[in-house]
């Protein structure tokens, strides 16, 4: 069973909320869900959609086709009729099918429903049309309405009983309307599956949860799509976890406050998108030079500049790899899905503290704002590395904050101890942190800092190879493309093309050995990226000398659909076979 549903309408119609409601309704029925939103950068008007895809197996991404379209305005039908599955159906706000059937193919059923009137009848707000539509959806697919009712009760209980009652009423009215008028349903059947209650979580939330679980207590940020979700999530949790969450005056202050807080001894994080990260570039070097642990999430969106503020792209890989003047160690991790976001956050804090380096979690709008079901999150145990405790400090007489060691790691302390007075210094410095211009010291300090990369590289897990060891095609990619690629692999299986997929999550330090091994034994390598210049392919070649055979690139500001990838792969293979 697989089902792909989309709701579309103007910004301000509550599209996102309604998608989430349906996602949770499916998740509570033990189903797997993935949902994703598309919206322009404005508050009202313009066209918004949310696609919810559910199945009784893990769902890794949205799809390129729609089984059921809920059109809150007519424009939605015109914009999406070409994406309809062959036997799909459209549910729209109205009483009657118009004569021209909106020009929709005859195989597509149309289900008019007077959403507005249903809401008006109980004096509800227009935004509640969504709830009626979800009720109607449930009727048309034979799902269990009581799950939705319970969900609505939970969702709105904090508001008031009236709100709960009204919402349930509207949902039921939508449901009843369809049961009354189309008792046969849509022909699509979606049934609850098991008793697992899966969570429906975005990448942003997963990073936020990962940070909480990792003991992060300081978050400073400036709002910027698609990273704002973390700010909102953590701000709301401030008092539950004794955090300090600070909306700063700009991104410079955001990263600098996080550096200050981390210097003082707490786990601190900031996040932004490429534009805001641009403003953090100078301070990134400060963290590096003072060896202050720091976690940054960079949620990519299409650049350059403001670009497409609410869309997705993977155009910042090279940027985060090389941002700020001079050579210094950093870690770049690009999780591919919601579970990996949670894990990445946990690991990021450990790596940041153990190696006293900045760690960048590189995501994108598609990952941070799409929901996926997760059964549970596995916490990453906290490892603060060489952080000397009070007892140790009591015994120390000559503390060298920047001691030159074999590993490059110098024991760190929490400032405030009598025996641990020291200077953090953006200037090149001696082992105590005092200014020092000496060329030998400079070389030694550069070597010390850079030496950490070796140990980091050996600690980071190797990239994972999905699919068979031997395959017709080896896909290489990073970040959020993981979902559509995994789905595409399912499609290609049916197409008699065996595919495996190397997901390069830890991008820096670069996993040289495994990538080389896989590249060398691959029959045909294809780089899949959501950007114009195939940044990963360049990185692979820089490190391994090896060139990918083909590239599948998309930079329209939209994520890949599984079908696009599958088709492109098939084409490449076809072409090769000719």
């Amino acid at each position: 069973m697989e089902f792909s549903w989309m709701v579309g309408g103007e910004a301000g119609f509550g599209i996102m909320a309604s998608g989430l409601t349906l996602s949770k309704t499916f998740a509570r029925g033990g189903l797997h869900v993935f949902d994703t939103i598309e919206y322009p950068s404005l508050i009202r008007g313009g066209h918004n959609t949310c696609m919810v895809r559910t199945a009784n197996r893990e769902v890794h991404s949205h799809t390129g086709y729609i089984d059921m379209l809920v059109a809150l305005n007519e424009e939605t039908i015109h914009l999406h009729k070409d994406e309809m599955a062959q036997t799909g159906c459209i549910l729209f706000d109205g009483m009657h099918e118009p004569e021209d059937r909106f020009g929709v193919h005859a195989d597509i059923s149309l289900f008019p429903i007077p959403l507005g009137d249903i809401v008006k009848d109980i004096g509800g707000r227009p935004i509640m049309r969504n709830t009626a539509a979800i009720g109607a959806t449930i009727a048309l697919i034979g799902y269990d309405l009581s799950i939705l009712e319970d969900l609505l009760a939970d969702m709105f209980k904090r508001k008031s009983e009236d709100v709960v009652r009204d919402n349930i009423h509207v949902a039921r009215a939508g449901y009843d309307f369809m049961m009354d008028n189309h008792p046969g349903g849509s022909g699509i059947i979606v049934k609850p599956q098991d008793n697992y209650r899966r969570m429906v979580v975005t990448g942003n939330e997963a990073v936020g949860l990962g940070a909480l679980s990792a003991g992060c207590t300081f978050y400073s940020a400036y709002p910027m799509t698609p990273a704002s979700g973390i700010l909102h999530f953590l701000a709301a949790e401030e008092r539950n976890y004794n955090l300090v969450v600070k909306h700063t005056e700009d991104e410079l202050a955001a990263i600098l406050m996080a550096i200050g807080a981390s210097h003082a001894g707490v786990r601190a994080m900031t996040a932004s998108s490429g534009g805001g990260f641009s403003l953090m570039v100078e301070a990134l070097g400060l963290a590096a030079m003072t060896e202050t642990p720091l976690v940054i999430m960079e949620g990519q969106r299409p650049g350059p500049s403001t670009g497409l503020a609410t869309r997705t792209e993977q155009g910042d890989l090279r940027f985060v790899l090389h941002a700020s003047q001079g050579d210094f160690p950093r870690v770049v991790i690009a999780p591919g899905d919601v579970e990996e976001c949670f894990q990445a956050a946990g690991h990021a804090f450990n790596l940041a503290e153990k190696y006293q380096v900045p760690v960048i979690i590189l995501t994108d709008k598609f990952l941070t704002e799409s929901h996926k079901t997760v059964l549970a999150f596995e916490p990453v145990p906290v490892d603060r590395g060489m952080l000397l405790d009070e007892a140790h400090l009591d015994r120390i007489t000559d503390y060298k904050r920047y001691e030159i060691t074999d590993s490059g790691i110098s024991p760190r302390i929490i400032p405030g101890h009598r025996n641990g007075v020291f200077r953090a210094n953006s200037n090149e410095h001696d082992e105590y942190g005092f200014d020092l211009e000496d060329p030998l010291n400079r070389t030694a300090m550069m070597d010390k800092r850079m030496r950490k990369l070796e140990q980091i590289a050996s600690e980071l897990p190797e990239p994972h190879l999905y699919g068979p060891q031997k395959a017709d095609v080896t896909l290489l990619s990073w970040g959020s493309t993981k979902g559509p690629i995994l789905e595409a692999m399912l499609l290609l299986k049916n197409n008699n093309i065996t595919v495996n997929f190397l997901q390069i999550m830890n991008l820096h330090p670069f996993p040289l050995e495994k990538v080389t091994r896989i590249m060398k034994r691959a029959t045909l390598t294809i780089d899949v990226e959501n950007n114009k210049t195939a940044q990963l392919a360049g990185l692979i070649r820089e490190h391994t000398g090896l060139k990918v055979d083909e590239k599948i690139l998309k930079y329209s500001g939209r994520p890949f659909t599984p079908e696009e990838i599958a088709n492109s792969v098939a084409e490449v293979v076809e072409h090769g076979r000719k």
């Binding site: 969570m199 003991g215 008092r239 539950n240 981390s262 953006s426």
Partner: protein, 286 residues
């Protein structure tokens, strides 16, 4: 209790002989002694400029940050551990030029920290370009035909933006400056100590003698009340034959950390971070 000499390091200042920074350093060490804090309880965040080297010469925790960005660094440190006593030591370029935005926003927060501005009315470490406090018309390396803009007035800006201790000192009068800094540190809230600092190498207009002739102390003015915002505003505008130094304005207002509920019991840094349980939060995702 720590004395002035306990705040020395064994580094020899690299400032030009006669530089106003020496006076500030002397006053600072005295004030630190007066404050009752010990070196490890202090955190001095400095900017980039001639002034920035100050952390090399003061025995206390130091953070030599980047140009113009002391305040956000200090804010982060403060919010993570408000038991540390925090000073920021910045230049006029640093604090009122590139760092202007942070300056205004920090004052709105009334963070409990002291900002000391080594105001030599010039970019000195970079060899003498105009600063936001350089007088109009003055030729400098970057404005050989004279500065066109009017200088910023840090004191009226501070009055506009919510600083709760607003003062001006003079590097040529270390005992007076020492008292100002000590009072600023004792003050609960954001304290500004703008310091008239002669730069003997590049600033040949605002010399020690120039200031010696002009400065007078507000505390010597009969009837001057630092609680009177209006009076403070008027004095803040005074610059010419007479230049006021001392405490312009003081006000008592809750500090930022007073209002952050999660900092009530203890500083963030004292909270254990291992084994945080997020199960309750996970419910909202069901």
């Amino acid at each position: 209790m720590a004395e002035s000499k306990d705040f020395r390091t064994d580094k020899k200042p690299v400032w030009c002989p006669g530089c106003g920074n020496f006076g500030i350093l002397t006053a600072l060490r005295g004030a630190l002694a007066d404050s009752g804090y010990e070196p490890h309880q202090l955190m001095i965040v400095s900017g980039i400029g001639c002034h920035g080297a100050v952390i090399q010469y003061v025995n206390a925790n130091g953070f030599h940050s980047i140009h113009g960005r002391t305040l956000p660094v200090a804010t982060g440190i403060h919010l993570a551990n408000h038991e540390l006593c925090i000073l920021t030591m910045v230049g006029d370029g640093d604090g009122y030029g590139i760092g202007m935005g942070h300056f205004i926003h920090a004052m709105r927060r009334n963070l409990d920290m002291t900002q000391i501005v080594h105001n030599n009315k010039l970019y000195s470490l970079t060899t003498g370009q105009t600063s936001p406090t350089t007088d109009k018309g003055r030729p400098t390396k970057s404005t050989p035909f004279g500065v066109i803009e009017i200088p910023v007035n840090p004191l009226t800006l501070a009055l506009s933006s919510g600083a709760t201790y607003i003062s001006r000192g003079f590097a040529g009068d270390p005992p007076h400056l020492r008292k100002l800094i000590a009072d600023a540190m004792a003050h609960k809230g954001f304290a500004l100590v703008d310091v008239l600092q002669p730069c003997i190498t590049f600033n040949h207009a605002n010399t020690n003698a120039f200031y010696k002739e002009r400065v007078y102390k507000l505390e010597d003015e009969t009837g001057y009340d630092p609680g009177d915002r209006q009076a403070a505003y008027e004095r803040a505008l005074e610059w010419g034959e007479r230049i006021p130094i001392g405490l312009f304005y003081r006000e008592s207002r809750p500090t930022y950390e007073d209002e952050v509920v999660t900092l009530k019991d203890m500083p963030l840094v004292k909270r254990p971070i291992k084994g945080v349980d997020i199960t309750k939060t996970l419910e909202q995702f069901l």
